[in-house]
C-alpha cells in the first residue's frame, strides 16, 4: 500500500495547482509555476505506474513530458519578457484586449 501515498502526493499536486490557478488573481508567473506543478504530478504518476506494472514505457514518457514542459516554459518566459517590455508588468489584467 506504499504506492498509494505517492499517488496521494500527485493528487495533492494537481489540486494545489488548480487551487493556485483559482486564487491567483494577477501574476502570470505563478500561473506558469502551477502548470509546472501539473506536469510534475503527471510525471510522478507515470513513474509510479511504470513501477507497479514493471513496464518501462512509462518512464520513457516522462522524458517526453519533461521536454515538453521545458519547451513550454521557454516560450512562456520569452513571451513574459516581451509583455514586460510592452507593459512594464506581467499582470493578467493588462491582457484583456480580446474583449469584444
Amino acid at each position: 500500500m506504499d504506492w498509494i501515498l505517492i499517488i496521494v502526493v500527485s493528487v495533492l499536486f494537481v489540486i494545489t495547482a488548480c487551487v493556485g490557478m483559482i486564487i491567483n488573481q494577477r501574476n502570470l508567473i505563478v500561473m506558469l509555476l502551477c502548470a509546472e506543478l501539473l506536469f510534475l504530478a503527471a510525471n510522478l504518476n507515470f513513474i509510479v505506474f511504470s513501477r507497479l506494472h514493471q513496464d518501462f514505457h512509462g518512464q520513457v514518457m516522462v522524458i517526453f513530458v519533461l521536454a515538453a514542459a521545458a519547451a513550454e516554459s521557454a516560450i512562456a518566459l520569452a513571451l513574459f519578457v516581451l509583455m514586460y517590455r510592452q507593459y512594464h508588468s506581467v499582470d493578467t489584467k493588462l491582457l484583456s484586449n480580446i474583449r469584444g
Binding site: V11, I15, V19, Q25, R26, L28, M31, N97, R99, G100
Partner: protein
C-alpha cells in the same frame, strides 16, 4: 528495357511542366523577363517531351497504355484512379496542343509586351495548356471533367483578360454561361455513363460499351429511351457548346474580345476542338446509335455552311476568322457524324495549324495598325508587311482547300466520305449539299479578307508608319506557314493510309468498303481524285468570285445590304440566334432571378430569418457574452475548477470523463 517504358514519364513531363510554369509564374514571378524565360522555356521542353512521346508511341506495338498514377476517390464500391490514357488519339492531341502553345507563347512575347497584365497572361495560358493536356491525357471520366472545366475556366479568364473593358467582361460571361449549359449536359452524360457501367475508368467503359446496347431508361414524360442514345446525346450537347456547333455557337464570335494569341490558342486550336476530341474519344459509344450519328452529321453540316456564310457580313477581321472556325468545326463534326473519326482528327490537326496561322497573322496586322480590327480601315499591306501577307495567303489557301496546302487533304476526303454516305443517311443530300457549298463559301470569305486587307489602297490612319512585325511575331508565322505547306502531305498516310495511326470502330459493316475506298483514293493520289471531284472546282470558283467581287473598291457587302436587303436580312441578323438569346432566354432568367430575389431573399431571408430568428439569437448571445470577461486568470480558474470537479467525481466513483 523497352523504350516504351519511358512513355509515361515523357507524357507526364509534358503534362506537368505547363502546370509548374503557370503556378510558379502566377504566384512568385515579379519580372516580365523571368516570366518569359520560364514559360517559353518550359513550354519548349514540354513540346519536346510530347514529340518524344509521340515517336515512342508510334514505335511501340500496343494499342494503348493505361498508366495508373494515384487513387483519387474511393467511396464504397466506387473508386476513381487518376492516370494517363496513352493512345494514338491522345498523344497526337498532346503534341498538337503543346506545339501550338509554344508558338503562341513565343508570339505573345512581342504581342503582349505593352500590356500591364503581361505576367498574368503568361501564367494563364500556361495553366490553360495544362488543363487542355489533362483533358486529353486523362484515363477516367472525372479527370476528363476536371480538364473540361479547367479549359472553361481559363478560357473565361483569358477572354476577359482586359476585364476593365465592358465588352470583354460581357463576352467572357456569355462564353462561360453558355459553356455552363453544355457542361450541365456533359455532367449528366458522364453521370449516366458511370451509373450504367459502374466505373469512371476508360478501360472499364470501353470494354463494356457493347453491353450497353440493350439497356434502356424510363424517363418521365418521354417514355423509354435507349441508354446509349441518351448518353451519347448528352455528351454531344456538351461537345456542341465546347466546339460551338450550330445552335450553341454564339459565344465564339464574341470571345474574340480576348487578345489575339488567346484566340489562336483557345478558339482555333485547342479548346474548341475539345468537343470533337470528346466525340472521337467516345467513338465506341456513339457508333452504337445510328440516329445520333445522323444528328451529329446534320448539326455539323449545317454549321459548316450556314455559319460560314455569316463571315461574309462581318467587318472585324478576328470575327471573320472566328466564323470560319465555326464552319471548319462543322466539317469536323460532320466527319464524326459520317463515321470518319480518323478524318475528323486529321482535319482537327490541320485546322489547328492553319487557323492558328490565320489568327496570328491577323494579330500581326492588328499589332502593326495599333489595334485596328476593322478590315475597312486596312488595305495595301502587301508591300508593307510581306511576310505576314504571304503567311496569311498560305493559311487562306489551306483553309480554302487548294492543293498542295494542308486543308485540301482533309477537306477533300471528308467531302468524299460525305458523298458516299449521303445515300444511307437521313437528310443525306442536305448534308452533302451543305458540305459542298461550304467549299464555295470558304474561299469567298477568307479571300475577301485577303484582298481587302493586303491589296488595294491603304485606308488606315496611324500616327507612325507601318512596318513588318518583329521577329518574335513573324517567327511563329513562318514556322506555321511551312507546316501549313507540308503537314497535309506528310500526315496523310497516318490518318487515311492503309495502316492508320489509330483505329476507330466502324459505324456499320457497310462502312468497311467505304474505308477501303478512302484508302484506295489515297493510294492512287488524292490530287488525281480531286480533279474528278467537285470540291476543288468549287473552291477555285470561290476564289475567282471573291477576286471579282472584293478586289475592287466595293470591298464590302454594301451592295447586297442596300439593294437586296430582304435577302441579306437573315445573315446580317445572324439568323436571329443572338436576338433570341437576348430577348427570350436572358429575360426569362432575369425575371426568374428577380422573383427569387424578391420572394426568396427579401421576404424569406431578410424579413423572416434575419429580423426574427437572428434578432432573437443576437439578444441571447448578447446576454451570454457577459461571461467572456477576457481576463486570463478567470479562464484559468474556470478550467481548474472543471478539472477539480472531474477529479472529485472520479474519486467518488462517478465516471465523469
Amino acid at each position: 528495357m523497352e523504350m516504351q517504358a519511358f512513355l509515361p514519364y515523357t507524357v507526364l513531363l509534358s503534362l506537368l511542366l505547363p502546370l509548374f510554369s503557370g503556378v510558379s509564374i502566377g504566384l512568385f514571378c515579379q519580372r516580365e523577363i523571368t516570366a518569359v524565360r520560364i514559360s517559353v522555356g518550359v513550354m519548349l521542353l514540354s513540346t519536346v517531351a510530347a514529340l518524344v512521346s509521340l515517336v515512342l508511341f508510334y514505335l511501340g506495338n500496343a494499342a494503348f497504355y493505361d498508366v495508373f498514377l494515384f487513387s483519387w476517390i474511393t467511396i464504397g464500391d466506387f473508386s476513381c484512379d487518376m492516370g494517363l490514357w496513352i493512345d494514338g488519339l491522345s498523344v497526337v492531341m498532346l503534341f498538337m496542343v503543346s506545339l501550338i502553345s509554344v508558338l503562341v507563347h513565343w508570339y505573345s512575347i512581342a504581342y503582349m509586351q505593352d500590356d500591364s497584365g503581361f505576367i498574368r497572361f503568361f501564367s494563364l495560358i500556361s495553366l490553360f495548356t495544362f488543363a487542355m493536356m489533362q483533358l486529353v491525357m486523362t484515363n477516367n471520366l472525372l479527370g476528363l471533367f476536371f480538364g473540361w472545366e479547367g479549359v472553361s475556366l481559363f478560357s473565361y479568364l483569358l477572354i476577359g483578360f482586359h476585364f476593365a473593358k465592358d465588352s470583354a467582361s460581357a463576352a467572357n460571361l456569355k462564353a462561360f454561361l453558355m459553356n455552363r449549359f453544355g457542361d450541365m449536359a456533359f455532367c449528366l452524360g458522364i453521370a449516366l455513363l458511370i451509373v450504367s457501367v459502374g466505373s469512371p475508368q476508360y478501360r472499364e467503359l470501353f470494354s463494356r460499351m457493347p453491353d450497353l446496347v440493350p439497356e434502356t431508361l424510363l424517363i418521365p414524360g418521354l417514355g423509354v429511351v435507349s441508354t446509349v442514345f441518351l448518353t451519347g446525346l448528352l455528351l454531344f450537347i456538351g461537345a456542341m457548346t465546347k466546339s460551338a456547333q450550330m445552335p450553341l455557337h454564339m459565344w465564339l464570335p464574341d470571345s474574340m474580345e480576348g487578345p489575339t494569341p488567346v484566340s489562336a490558342l483557345i478558339h482555333a486550336a485547342t479548346m474548341v476542338t475539345a468537343g470533337v476530341f470528346l466525340l472521337c474519344r467516345f467513338a465506341d459509344l456513339i457508333v452504337l446509335s445510328p440516329i445520333l450519328m445522323n444528328c451529329i452529321a446534320f448539326v455539323g453540316a449545317s454549321g459548316a455552311l450556314w455559319l460560314g456564310i455569316l463571315a461574309l457580313f462581318e467587318f472585324d477581321i478576328k470575327r471573320i476568322i472566328a466564323y470560319s472556325t465555326l464552319s471548319q468545326l462543322g466539317y469536323m463534326t460532320l466527319a464524326v457524324g459520317v463515321g470518319a473519326f480518323n478524318l475528323a482528327i486529321f482535319h482537327l490537326l490541320l485546322h489547328a495549324i492553319y487557323k492558328a496561322l490565320l489568327f496570328l497573322a491577323a494579330g500581326s496586322v492588328i499589332h502593326a495598325l495599333a489595334h485596328q480590327q476593322d478590315i475597312r480601315q486596312m488595305g495595301g499591306l502587301w508591300s508593307k508587311m510581306p511576310i505576314t501577307a504571304i503567311c496569311f495567303l498560305f493559311g487562306a489557301l489551306s483553309l480554302s482547300g487548294i492543293p498542295p496546302f494542308s486543308g485540301f487533304y482533309s477537306k477533300d476526303l471528308i467531302l468524299f466520305v460525305a458523298a458516299k454516305q449521303a445515300v444511307s443517311l437521313q437528310a443525306g443530300w442536305y448534308i452533302y449539299g451543305c458540305a459542298l457549298l461550304g467549299f464555295l463559301i470558304t474561299p469567298l470569305y477568307i479571300f475577301r479578307v485577303f484582298w481587302v486587307v493586303f491589296l488595294g489602297r491603304p485606308r488606315y490612319v496611324t500616327r507612325t508608319p507601318v512596318y513588318e512585325s518583329p521577329m518574335q511575331i513573324v517567327g511563329p508565322l513562318m514556322i506555321l506557314g511551312v507546316l501549313c505547306l507540308l503537314s497535309g502531305y506528310v500526315l496523310l498516310p497516318f490518318f487515311a493510309g492503309a495502316s492508320p495511326f489509330f483505329q476507330f470502330p466502324l459505324l456499320s459493316p457497310a462502312l468497311q468498303p467505304l474505308q477501303q475506298k478512302v484508302i484506295d483514293v489515297v493510294a492512287h493520289g488524292l490530287f488525281l481524285h480531286a480533279i474528278f471531284g467537285l470540291g476543288l472546282y468549287f473552291a477555285l470558283f470561290g476564289i475567282i468570285v471573291s477576286w471579282l467581287r472584293y478586289s475592287t473598291p466595293h470591298y464590302a457587302s454594301q451592295w447586297m445590304t442596300t439593294h437586296v436587303w430582304w435577302l441579306s436580312w437573315p445573315f446580317v441578323n445572324r439568323y436571329g440566334f443572338d436576338w433570341c438569346l437576348e430577348n427570350i432566354i436572358v429575360p426569362f432568367f432575369r425575371v426568374s432571378a428577380s422573383v427569387c430575389s424578391q420572394y426568396g431573399e427579401q421576404v424569406m431571408i431578410d424579413q423572416t430569418i434575419e429580423s426574427r430568428v437572428a434578432g432573437r439569437i443576437q439578444g441571447i448571445s448578447h446576454w451570454f457574452s457577459r461571461i467572456q470577461t477576457s481576463y486570463l486568470n478567470r479562464y484559468f480558474a474556470v478550467m481548474s475548477l472543471a478539472i477539480m470537479i472531474m477529479i472529485a467525481g472520479s474519486l467518488m466513483g462517478y465516471n465523469i470523463v
